[in-house]
Symmetry: D2
Subunit: 216 residues, 4 copies
């Protein structure tokens, strides 16, 4: 798959390069510059909102699909995505981990059967993480569908653990997820790129990529 | 709910008495004897196959529903259950934990999305448990739908832990269950009894009780 | 070992009876009453401060050793214990779990080597527990020797889990303890009773019982 | 600290460079070649036995201390190390994780107090690991001091988890370690280098580095 990366020199950019394969990278975009060697089938952007305009420009010019993991998007960004999605497939998401995607679905499907159980959420991340609880913990709480205590541990270099524990008088049922490294998000991006290349033009959420994996 | 117990003096019988409430127990059955003070709406039997005939006799005489958790049942026992189920609701199962019931469903629903992940099962039980892997571990492996390594730890007085862990290069997704005591099975039996009293005559698996909880 | 129990009809009293063996129980004491069939070698009291006077009376009369797990003791109680300890061995403690006793020692011995690691404590107890953090969590934090975030989960019927996790950029080291039931404290009391019968008169902390196990 | 690396281009070499700081690297050694810009205070070698002779040559020429994490060493290698250790400090070890070092000490110190508890070891590593149980699991079993069941899970990209669980009828005590990445060993090597620079000439085991951290 010939692809392009926005922000290839950042930490996430390097992970993307490794997972997608450095030899197939035909376009690199940064805030200041861009270099296009060949038509990218898909552009992958996990950088910053300021870079989005340049990425969109490439997508329009080369009819490239788009996989977008940039956070802090505003309404005008979504307007631009909707516009692009008329002509190419666009996959957007805030967490590209397959495991978290599945966990959200499991919780949404099964939480009603557990509504007379207690439930609490724990998340552990490296000490450099400034927000607490993590965005993913909030998203899991939404999937549980009711308010529940959430505990945030900040310990060393832990990439990211999440657990949702349900219990009643007699038993404990727990769902856990552990990111081993940033690579997990690059792997999700790759799966999203494959999904995009098989899809009609349109704006897709990463959850549709996960759901698609379920149907196989 | 007026109910009767077969094997009330055993360890599981005492748990059932506590969960169902000792005051509503109107019938007790043992291998040698039976005492019926009033019509039981439901009979609960978690004892031994040899006691089943007496339990069935009470169910027939009083048109009592039946919740049966006895293991090592043979074909002739199932024939007798099917016969009884023409006139009253019968709930049969080998593991009356709601959590394990839900876990089986989750694994059945989501394992296909995880078929390119590695998977292993761990179970920990008290040292008095003679079989390994546990029946529940086998049942979880069936729900996963493919062969996977299973590890059995035998440690002190642990009532019963099970975990199913999926992983790929970037993440680990795990599903865990922990029984806190035998009480969990008595609680499942109580839920099954409630289910039976709301149901038409017929032979039900405990999973239908779990599924019913999902629909609320 | 011929022994007596104060508060034999309470939940902890019944656990003590089961672990010490009901046949060897020669004395029972309650707030209102006492019954002594034979000289108890040791009295075991895990009841309430109000009952202590009666327990002490028996110890004095029969020269019985004392194992005391009652909490909320006041200074005057300790004065009375010191007085009794001149003539018989007295073992006093607030947590009679061997595992927690060992964990405290490990933390005290090794925390200095971990003082540039992050550390956090998690404890999970049943929803009926009113205090948070648990007394045991506080005691573990003391053993760590520095302030650290403590998370309290209240979930169903969990008897009591504690974990102390240390981490730096590259690794996580964790110490965990899980009570399987109230029985663990009765087992610790039994060990303390054996220790008392082998000891000179004096006032001992439960930690000395644990330390003694280390020396074997 | 001015240092040199043998095998700087390998995966472990790159971790060492990042932890020690690329700017202070004054010497690089490979099987075929060597480049020395300045006198290295310490040489760090986590490569292969075949490279040891070149590393030793540099240490002799520049009176550099040595931190050696190479495995599969033979007797003749140890003879050469002993010879070098007459003139400079040499730290040798097979696992440079501080956490595993501490865990070994804890287990050695406290296992006797737990000799009537059951004990089992679990380790989880990535699927590329060929040996099972892991060398570290064997080393932990030695520290426990008695034979115990060991379970090896091979799951996705897990860098390395180890747990030692003790249990009796009433409680479970567990010691767990989790490597977050290869970086943990580079951090241990750095600590060993600091230790070497503060030490007299001699041959030291990595455990002495850990023990030294305990004494602070």
């Amino acid at each position: 798959m010939k692809y392009g990366i926005t922000g290839a020199s950042g930490r996430m950019g390097r992970e993307l390069l490794e997972v997608f394969g450095p030899d197939d990278c035909v376009a690199t975009v940064s805030l200041e510059d861009e270099a296009v060697l060949d038509r990218p089938e898909v552009m992958v952007d996990f950088s910053r909102p300021e870079a989005l305009e340049r990425t969109l420009g490439i997508c329009r010019e080369y009819r490239s699909a788009l996989v977008l993991g940039t956070t802090a998007l505003e309404e005008r960004h979504f307007d631009a995505l909707a516009e692009l999605a008329r002509t190419v497939p666009v996959v957007q998401g805030y967490n590209f981990s397959m495991g978290i995607g599945l966990l959200k679905m499991v919780l949404r499907d099964y939480s009603t059967a557990l509504d007379d159980w207690d439930v609490e959420i724990c998340e552990t991340h490296h000490v450099h993480k400034v927000d607490a609880p993590s965005g993913t913990a909030i998203l899991l709480k939404d999937a549980v569908g009711r308010d529940c205590p959430t505990h945030s541990l900040r310990l060393g270099g832990v990439p990211g653990d999440h657990s949702v524990s349900f219990a009643n008088e007699g038993e404990v049922l727990s769902f856990g997820h552990r990111a081993l490294s940033r690579k997990v998000f690059a792997m999700g991006a790759y799966r999203a790129a494959r999904f995009a290349l098989d899809s009609e033009p349109g704006l897709y959420d990463f959850e549709e990529v996960v759901r698609c994996a379920l149907k196989r």
